[in-house]
């Protein structure tokens, strides 16, 4: 089966929703796809108890009035020229596009430490998502740790679902967090947001310069060692939600041949000010261009949607707002920079690649991801190196590279179904 769109948007988080709406407002035939069954992405994930956040509902309502075709549970597994191959629970679909907006977002950065693979230890955003989907956390003693504002949002969700949140352990020192807070007045909406979160979390200790050194338990988590300026102490808990920020999801962009900026620890998709990637007719918006947060993602989504539909003027109007939000993101990144001690938590026996059970010591002596992979199988598993690759880049070992189809594990029948390499010139080029 083949479907054709003037503008195809990959990812239905805030950036993708905004892109679809903007492109459709100019009359383009728009397809909006996501691997999930519902719109919203990670940040606006539907909550079984509370539904979607109000901003998400508004974005959806706006979309409903436009000519946007919603393609849920579409996982992109391969890409060709002006074509994507998507797998659905039932079948495989070939999607042909005139212009493509990538809004693939980001994933959580997990860093290995002794005990991190115990059942009961999850990502911070990971446990938040699970709770929203109905995973039982009520009555559980949960420690939240890692870095960034995501910890507050995760803790608030967990508390609403009945978890006993023992504390939030932010690795950034108090001096850095208060310096950040002093700058916050420039973004009044953020002040209100932070205040609302703090109110939800009244009574939950928020510690700075504090991180999890190790997790303990026999078959499941029983307790964690917390380290701060006063030393190390053991606390008992049932769950640990720990995340160290976000990593851009650049895999699809890289597979399509879009250049990435590899200067930082994690690659991000290179775009110009109109959010054009290095490949003609392919645009990128939101976290995959560098983690910038929800507000930046929404603005960038709109810019990319307008440009993809050929409406340069509408996009240009939004550039100052984008710059303002990107400034905020830079401020955040600067003040929540990771403590070097976090990179030394894993010992030789700590498993780094969970798919293939590879311990950190097995990687000693390798300075190249491919050589290490061939010798140890690190990164060869079902996550395709998404978890261990980002962690190893953060640990200063070697970054992961080389993106090939299938982009995600895919049914063999899907890969056998579609010929992707046929060029398709029947779609008008809207952006030039």
């Amino acid at each position: 089966m083949t479907e054709r769109y003037d503008v195809l948007v990959v990812g239905a988080g805030p950036a993708g929703l905004a892109a679809a709406q903007a492109a459709a407002s100019h009359g383009a035939r728009v397809g909006l796809l996501d691997a999930q069954a519902r719109h919203g992405g990670q940040v606006w994930r539907h909550d079984v108890r509370r539904g979607a956040p109000r901003a998400a509902r508004k974005a959806l309502d706006a979309l409903a009035r436009r000519r946007v075709e919603w393609l849920p549970q579409h996982q992109i597994v391969a890409a060709g020229r002006r074509t994507l191959l998507a797998e659905t629970p039932q079948t495989a679909v070939r999607l042909v596009f005139g212009a493509l907006v990538l809004a693939t977002g980001a994933r959580e950065l997990l860093l290995p430490f002794p005990g991190w693979t115990l059942p009961g230890v999850t990502g911070a955003g990971g446990l938040q998502a699970l709770a929203k989907q109905g995973w039982p956390v009520a009555g559980k003693r949960v420690a939240v740790a890692g870095s960034g504002p995501l910890l507050l949002a995760a803790a608030a969700t967990l508390r609403r679902h009945g978890a006993h949140v023992l504390g939030i352990h932010e690795q950034a020192p108090a001096t850095a967090v208060s310096a950040f807070a002093r700058q916050l007045w420039r973004w009044p909406a953020r002040v209100a947001q932070a205040a609302a979160l703090r109110a939800t979390l009244a009574g939950v200790p928020y510690r700075f310069g504090s991180f999890v050194r190790a997790a303990h338990g026999i078959d499941a988590l029983e307790g964690i060692d917390i380290e701060d300026a006063h030393g190390s102490r053991r606390i008992a808990c049932d769950m640990l939600a720990v995340g160290y920020g976000l990593v851009p999801n650049v895999e699809l962009a890289a597979l399509l041949g879009c250049a990435t900026d590899d200067a930082g620890t994690h690659p991000r998709v290179q775009v110009d000010r109109m959010l054009r990637t290095s490949v003609a007719n392919i645009y990128a918006a939101g976290e995959l261009c560098g983690v910038g947060g929800l507000a930046a993602a929404r603005i960038e989504g709109a810019i990319a949607g307008h440009v993809a539909a050929g409406a340069i003027a509408a996009a240009t109007d939004l550039l100052p707002a984008r710059e303002r939000e990107r400034r905020f993101a830079r401020l955040l990144a600067r003040h929540f920079a990771l403590d070097a001690r976090l990179r030394a938590l894993a010992d030789g026996d700590t498993v780094v690649c969970r798919c293939e059970d590879v311990a950190l010591a097995a990687l000693d002596g390798f300075d190249d991801a491919r050589a290490a992979k061939l010798a140890t199988r690190c990164g060869m598993g079902a996550c395709q190196g998404r978890v261990c690759g980002s962690a190893l880049a953060e640990l200063g070992r070697f970054p992961r590279g080389g993106f090939r189809p299938p982009l995600f594990p895919a049914r063999l029948a899907s890969l056998a179904a579609a010929d992707l390499s046929l060029p398709d010139s029947s779609i008008p080029d809207l952006s030039t």
């Binding site: 491919r370 050589a371 598993g381 189809p405 299938p406 594990p409 049914r411 063999l412 056998a416």
Partner: protein, 366 residues
């Protein structure tokens, strides 16, 4: 000047085997490898240890090598798994050839049995209905080639071999090799650079032959043997521009490795969707249950193919102290150990265990 008894250029499975064999014989060995150990065709290979019976010379080399592989049957790094090889016949015509193939394999010292259709489905219940029996070669096995190459290089180094890692050989002189950093190594030289052979020895014709492989998630119990179609040799040894054949392997993890494709005159290493599609359709014809399995990775590699399909093993004609072991196409892992032994027999003037004539590089210049 750094002097050695043997400079091995290239540390794929063939170069690593030669270096190991030479170090074991007491030679002072240098190994030159610009990339990861076993990072070329070795890294992309299936690691199936298999005797192909259609060329007597190739069969002799394979038989000798398979015997040598038994040394590593209990080595953890080899990930040696004796799954056996099951060749399946699509029709009566293919089934009719089985008796002769069994006879040839047994005459070479191997073990093989014809199996009827009923036995075939007992051995592999997931095979498509309507197949006409096949041939079981029970002692054959699979290994994990890149770790094996690494093991052989480590063992050679323990015996004194010196590894020039990250260095490429730029020029072959008279009993000398100049590296890309200007270092000159002196000594007899053995070139085992696989597909890169023409860079150093352009007089020996060799073409890269691209292949695709794909590995699934873990499905323990679905597949028990390495299973190939009897028509595989037509794809492997034919000269068609492109071909596919059914060839699946159970990894010890429960993953299934699926091949195979062959293409000449393609330089692009990227995974080709049409080729992958052809290869998978072929696999589904023989094993429909594969359709619903999840693939986690696909990759490609290039096999070093000589015009007659046999490797170059021996002295480079007209060049003193220059040797070559390359061009094993799809059988480099199977035949690496035997190739290394033959090379050392020739280098040291020992009586070779098998007749070296069919592999003599001089045949390419005749």
């Amino acid at each position: 000047m750094n002097g050695y008894d043997l400079i091995v250029v290239g540390a794929g499975i063939v170069g690593a085997s030669c270096a190991d064999e030479a170090a074991a014989a007491g030679l002072r060995v240098a190994i030159v490898e610009p990339g990861p150990i076993g990072g070329g065709a070795t890294a992309c290979a299936m690691g199936h240890l298999v005797a192909m019976d259609d060329d007597p010379a190739e069969l002799a080399l394979a038989r000798h090598s398979l015997h040598r592989w038994e040394e590593f049957a209990d080595l953890a790094e080899a990930e040696f798994s004796r799954c056996g090889t099951l060749w399946v016949a699509r029709n009566e015509a293919e089934a009719a050839g089985i008796a002769q193939r069994v006879a040839r394999l047994e005459a070479s010292g191997g073990e093989a049995h014809a199996v009827d259709a009923q036995a075939l489905y007992r051995l592999e219940p997931a095979l498509a209905p309507g197949l006409c029996g096949g041939m079981l070669v029970p002692r054959e096995a699979v290994v994990y080639p890149p770790r094996m190459a690494l093991h052989l290089v480590r063992r050679a180094r323990q015996r004194g071999a010196v590894l020039y890692a990250g260095r490429a050989a730029r020029r072959l002189g008279r009993a000398a090799v100049t590296l890309d950093d200007g270092t000159v190594l002196a000594g007899p030289t053995l070139v085992a650079t696989g597909c890169a052979l023409p860079e150093l020895l352009p007089q020996l014709p060799l073409r890269p032959r691209k292949g695709h492989l794909l590995i699934t998630d873990r499905y323990p119990g679905l597949l028990h043997h390495q299973v190939l179609e009897l028509g595989y040799a037509d794809s492997a040894h034919g000269h068609a521009g492109s071909s596919v054949a059914f060839n699946v392997q159970p990894r010890p993890t429960g993953q299934i490795l699926i091949g195979s494709s062959r293409e000449f005159d393609v330089a692009d290493p990227s995974v080709s969707a049409p080729m992958l599609q052809r290869m998978l359709q072929r696999a589904f014809d023989f094993m429909p249950a594969l359709r619903g399995l999840r693939a986690i990775r696909a990759w490609t590699g290039f096999r070093p193919a000589t015009p007659d399909g046999r490797p170059y093993l021996g002295a480079v004609p007209g060049r003193a102290d220059l040797w070559v072991a390359a061009g094993h196409e799809g059988l480099g892992v199977t035949t690496a150990l035997g190739s290394a032994q033959l090379m050392l027999d020739l280098l040291l003037g020992r009586t070779p265990a098998i007749d070296p004539a069919p592999y003599a590089p001089a045949r390419a210049l005749a």
